[in-house]
Structure formats: C-alpha cells, structure tokens
Amino acid sequence: MAALTAARSGARVIVADEQSEFGGGLLGTGIEVGGMVARKWVQKMVEALAKWPEVMMLSRSTVTGYHDHNFLVINERRTHHLSNPASLMSRERMWRVRAKQVVLATGAIERPLVFTDNDRPGVMLASAVSVYMKRYAAVPGRSLVVFTNNDSAYRVVHDAIDAGVVVKGVVDLRDDGVSAAADAARCAGVPVYLGHAVTAVKSNFRGVKRINIGRLSADGRSVVAHKGAIECDVLAMSGGWNPTVHLHAQSGGRPVFDETNACFFPGVSVQAERSTGACAGEFDLSLCLVRAVEAASEALRQVGIDPVTVDTPGTAQHSEAPLRALWSIPGDPVMPRGKKFVDYQNDTTEADIRLAAREGYRSIEHVKRYTALGFGTDQGKLGNVNGMAILADALGQSPGAIGTTTYRPNYTPVTFGAIAGRAVGEVLFDPIRRTPMHEWHVEKGAAFEDVGQWKRPWYYPLPGEDREKAVSRECLATRQSVGILDASTLGKIEITGRDAAELLDRIYTNAWKSLSVGRCRYGLMLGEDGMVMDDGVTSRLSEHRYLMTTTTGGAAHVLNWLERWLQTEWPELEVFLTSVTDRWSVTSIAGPKSRELLESLSEGIDLSPETLPFMSFCEGHVAGIAARVFRISFSGEVAYEINVSADQGLSLWRTVMEAGKPFGITPYGTDAMHVLRAEKGYVIVGQDTDGSVTPIDLGMDWIVSKKKDFIGKRSLSRADTARANRKQLVGLKTENSTVVLPEGAQLVNGFSSSRPVPMVGHVTSSYFSATLGYSIALALIKGGRARLGGTVYAPLLDGQLIKATITEPVFYDSDNVRQRD
C-alpha cells in the first residue's frame, strides 16, 4: 500500500522483499482482504505496482544494512532458485541505494515460548505451521496441539482444521476470561485449556509423541496441578510477536519496550525513515494497511510531493485480546527435568541466563557474551527478547530497563562474493597498468612482478635459467657492458609556476633554489613526523618548470601530498601540479658502454661528460624521436634515462635493442635493479624504510639542510628521533659468503639467557652479488653506525644461526667513480 501510494503520487520507488514472492505474512494465512483471499489481493497489488515505470520490484532481496545518510544496502539473490542459471549471470547483486525517504515494513517475527523441552523435533512456531499448510500445502503432522500466550496462534487452529489435521487442544497461558478467539476454537470443537501450560514434551526422532499439561498458579510461577497428557505429533507454539526493528535500530533509532504488547517498538527516527505495520507494533491487518498509506504520505510530503489518496481494503481479521507475558514457564512440579531453550542456535537455556545473573552479570551485552545468547547466524531474532526478559526477571527489573543489545548490520549474513561484486578476476579486481614496452617484455618471456598496479619485468630468463642465474647474468652484463631497464613506471609529476622552487624547498630536505636549469638533483621527502616518505630525482626543465620523479608505488600519494599542502596551507604559492607518469616512457640504459650506444643513436645531443655531466639532462633526438635524456643512475654505472612520449616508447626500445647488439645489450628487470642499487647502498623507500626511519637513521645527514625549514625538520630533533640507539642502516656480510640472509630476518647479538633473546634489528634487503662474488645485505640495527666491524647473528626458522659482520652499506665503488665517468 505504501509503495502504491508513493508510485501513484509520482515518486521513484524500490520495493525490496526478502522472500521469493511479494506478500510477506499474508502468503501464509487464510485471511480475506478486500473480499478475496489475501494471496489473490497481493497478486493484484503486485500487478498494479508493476505498471509504474518508476517502481522497481526486487524480490529475494534483503535490505541488509541501513547506514548513515539514508544509505541502504540491498542483497539480491539472483540465481539460487534457478536450476540452470545462465553461466555469466551473477549469483547475487548488491544494490547500494541512497534513499530520500524510507518506509520500513519489515513485519514481525513470532517469538517462541520458553518452556521445558521446547526444542524437541515437532515443536514449531504456530505461524510456521500455518505457512506450511496455507502457503506450501504441506501438513507438518496429523494431530496438533497449540500452546500460546496470545490470540494470534488461534489462527492455526482453523488453518489445521481446513487442512484436515486433528486439533487436540489449545493450551493458553492466559487465565480464564473472555476471549473471542478461544470461543471460536471451542465452537470448532477444540478443547481450550486456559490458565494451563505445557510441562513436558515426549518425543522421538520422528517428532512429538505426547505432551503433559498442568494448571498454573495465579502468578504463573509454578504449576499447581498436573492436568494430564495429550497425544499429538506437532506442537505449535506462540509467545507473541517481536516487531522487526533491526533496520530502524541500524539507522540510529533506539527501540523502546512496550509493556502492553511485551515487545520492543521502534523509537524516535534519527534518519529519514519511518516504520509501519507490524514492525511498528501494529498487529491489526486493516489498520496496517491504513498506516502504510499514512507512512508513505508522510514520506512524500517530506520531499515535497503531494500524496494522492489511496483507499485501503477492509479485512476479516478480528481484534485481539492482550497476551500474557510469561517469560519462563514453570515445568513439572514433581519431576522437573528437561531444558528450556532460549537461543535455539547456540543452545543457550533459561538456566544459563539465570546463572549469568547469579554470577553478577548485569548488562545484557555482558550476559550475551557470557552465554552466547544471540551469537548464532540468526543473531538472536528468535531468542533475544526472551533472553533479555528472563535476565530482567532474574534481576527484578522490567525488560525495558534491560534494553536490547546493539542491532548491527548486516540483518542477515551476506556472502563475500556479493560484497566483492564485479571486482573479480584479473581484469576487474584492480586496474592493471602496463608500460608502452610491455608487449616486448612478454615476447621475451619476462617474469613479471606486481608493483602497485603496474606489471614490471622482474627478470628475463633465458632457456634453462632459473631466477638466480638470470639475475646474476643481467647484473654482470650491466656492470661490464650495457643493460637496459624499462623505468616507465616511475612516478612523474610536472611542477610549474612562479613558486615551484619554493615548494620543492619546503617539501624536500635539501636546498632547491640553487639548482640551475638543465640539472637534476636527488631529493628525500619526509612526513611531518620526520620519517622518510618518498624519494626521487627532480630536474629543472626551465625557469619555472620542474619534473619530479617519485617511487613507482608512491606516485599518487606524493601528488596528493603536494596538492594538500598547496591547497590547505600554502595557497599563496603559485604552483601547478600535473601527473605525467603515463605521458612519458622511460628507457634506461646503464653500464660502461651506455654512452657509446647512445651516441650511435642520438642527434643534436652532445654526450661528452663535460657537456652532459652526471645529474644533468638535455633535449634532442634519439633514434629520430624527440627525447629528454637524463643522466642519472640508480645502478652506480654511467646511465641515461631516455624519456620519449609514451606512444613512441616501444619503437625506441626496439631500436635501442637493435643498436645495442654489438655491445651485448642485456635487458634487466626489477630484481637485477635491486641488486645493482644495493651494491651501491642506495635505499628503496618502503623496503629499507618502513615509516619509522629518519634520514639520519639512513646515514643521509648530507641531504638534510641545516639552513632552511622543510616538512618534518622539527621532528628530527625530538627526543625520540634524536636518540642515539635508533635503528640505523648498515651493511651486512655473512661469514659464509654464499649464504644469502632472508629479507626480514631478525638480528640478535648472539646467545642470550633472557627470553625472548633481545632483537637488535632486521635485514631489509639481501642478495647474492655476482659482481662481488659474495652475498650482501642491508639492515637496520640499533646503534648500528657505531658497530661497524662488529658481529650480529640471524637465527633462522630452521634453527640455523647465521653469523654476519656489520659493514658500511656501500659495497661497490664507494667513491662513486663509475657513474660520474
């Protein structure tokens, strides 16, 4: 009714229904609505709604979460019911909806009664028995007894008679009194035992065989007389109804206890939502329909839509007498045995909750955790209110004073697949970034490494080579002749504007205003906490134009970082940032033959060391392609990074490979790159640093300006950052020079009687150096700079203890002669 009101008034509407068909509780009843059986009426309503183009009808769709700012998540199950779903059809779909207004009509869940033997097979909720018979035409038994504290359960009496099931009696906890429902049952020839309770259930694996009933004392706390046994095979029970207030509570509302109906009603709305029908505590069907129209009208008015008038049909439902809340029902006074279950999934019993109270638990949240009440997959939908009320009884309080546990999303369990949605497989999980030369790497059989979203060649194995052999060959070739590396993934940010140098000065630890056009400089940037954040070479392209390079993985972060400072702290600086990572391809050639190779390909570029010294760049043509050539080195060899526009990258690469043949040009991947730089003691941010390392810890005092301020500078003199015993970067040489320490290995000073053995540091990078003929490692060791020449040990998982000497972190060409050549 609410949806129809909204649709007719011109609103866009989503109707999400958890069940496979629309209709909710009406599907399982024989009630008449608008002069026809409820099911028929539902069908007419659904047809009427389907005519509206702006109404989306979602069945098998559960609103599992009601989040901030009216954001609702709907879990639609698309294929579970299909015997042969299309292979590409997603099994579930997650709708993420930002609703202007929400009408919750989530109904109510029938409550079990807490009595002896209430978890025997064949003891069922009364509404479930009705649904089997009325909706699915299946009888759960041949002879039925109903056990109730309210009028609603009397419906099953008539449903059962209609279905040809013998109804042996109704056991009603309420005292003698006038009840139209009881009278109607009696008229149908069913005995009604008012003021009685079921005290025991006898059953076997097939189900119930017989029940015992007894007369209750006036206060309902004891059974005063055994009444007798009734043979039956199904016991239908009803302890009243709990409005499904979950989504209201998730939206921020606090349910309040209603003494008359002995259940929690929705409280004050916090977001743009309202509950209607049984979930709002309205159990009269005719009124439910009226209230639904009212709820929709109110929602429409909130968004400025005039609601149209919608007539509601009459129903044949009778008004009901109040229930009797008897939260725990006494058992047999002579032979009290058997358990009274509260949580059917976790087997939490009434006695468990009373024990928790005796143990001193007062808060329902604590009792929940002590007893596991409500921790099952139903999250307490059946048992929680009973449990809360029993705790209240044990503590001498009202259930309202105890309150509910927190209703959290999700309402029902959601599969990880539904949450992941389309983000699956190679293609859709995460974007893949490939360099312009990727195709060539694949052709040459490169093994790839994921670096962020990038695919980078890791090494290029020749037939019969393993990783170690390939990497050694690539390293040696680069040191002896010339190697070629695809460095396109390096982050590149173009920085322009009058104050570009000023920005660099504030961001990097070293001075930038003195850098002349055509020159390059290495820079280190810190977080404001003084810890190394990123590094790279920045070149001055022209007066007010710089090209910054960042680590491959840090590019986006650095761009955001610079942007943030400019926008939030230094708006007076005139600087513009542009990410140009994808704009340029970078072919890096390194090794003693790299100059000769490049000379054979370049036009208009003077590669002589006098004209193009180390840490400078020039523009010209390489292989006929406009290029920027940067003479910078991460390998310690003479090296050139040739930047050409991305669409020319592959062409250039192929030409360089061809021209390099006489020199035995060797492509190398990230693994060899790592070895070459480690031999030189060049750190990789994120590998040799971990966010807790300062430039001083790295022994890079030389790059930290004493004169100017920069981000993070003040932190370097804080007590903890200036402490002498910080972990510092050192080199390690293993005693047995062929042993390569595992990266991440912890380091100790040797055997120690204290446990755990005090750890003094860890290995950050470790390789076998083919150039040097022994294994090398970089490590962060407490007070390491003062321990050069000393010994540490790496205890390995297999029990080995590897002995190593602490050295300077530079293993090769420590005077930097080669790269300046």
């Binding site: 989040h67 901030d68 700012h69 009216n70 954001f71 993420r96 930002r98 921020g252 916090v270 404001e528 906490d529 955001n560 942007e563 943030r564 926008q567 939030t568 702290e569 708006p571 301020d709 500078k713 003040r714 932190s715 804080r718 007590a719």
Partner: protein, 94 residues
C-alpha cells in the same frame, strides 16, 4: 557511507572523498622555536570531540579540491561546508 557535498561538484558518495582530519590546525610559522611539547601537540594531538567537528575533506576522485565540513561525530550529520581559508560558520554545542 556518507553523502558529502563537494562545494564544487555537489553531492557525491563518500567513497569519492578522502578524509583529512581536524581542520584549522595551522602549521607553525617557525617550528624551530617550538618546544618538543608544542611541536608534539601540533603533530599528534587532536580534539576528537563528541559532537560538532570541523574537518577537512578532499574530493580525491572528483575535482581534487580540499574543503572543510562541520560534522556531528555522533550522528554524522553535516551541517555546513566551506572552502579552505573561509571563516568557519558559527558553531553550536561547543
């Protein structure tokens, strides 16, 4: 997930934004003059109020501009947005 109104692009889902924490924490002009305590305050200490909170957001997956919002940390209601450098709107309840 919140719905956030970028002052430039209008209302978008929170997943397009990144959070910048408490607003109006100016970087000290001369950090070298600060005691460790004062620098530590700037660096680490935040108000973390229960109630209205002036905070920075960036429309990272949109126009990439930073702006300020006043949000209730209990209900997540956002009552005002204003640009960087603008005077914050009157605050109640604080």
């Amino acid at each position: 997930m919140l719905e956030i109104e970028c002052p430039w692009c209008g209302a978008c889902d929170q997943s397009e934004f990144s959070y910048g924490g408490e607003a109006h924490i100016a970087r000290p002009k001369t950090p070298a003059d600060l005691s460790d305590q004062e620098w530590g305050d700037y660096l680490f200490n935040r108000e973390n109020p229960k109630g209205w909170h002036r905070e920075q957001w960036c429309h990272t997956a949109g126009c990439r501009r930073w702006f300020n919002a006043v949000r209730d940390t209990v209900t997540c209601r956002i009552k005002a947005y204003y640009r960087m450098g603008a005077v914050p709107p009157e605050e109640d309840g604080r």
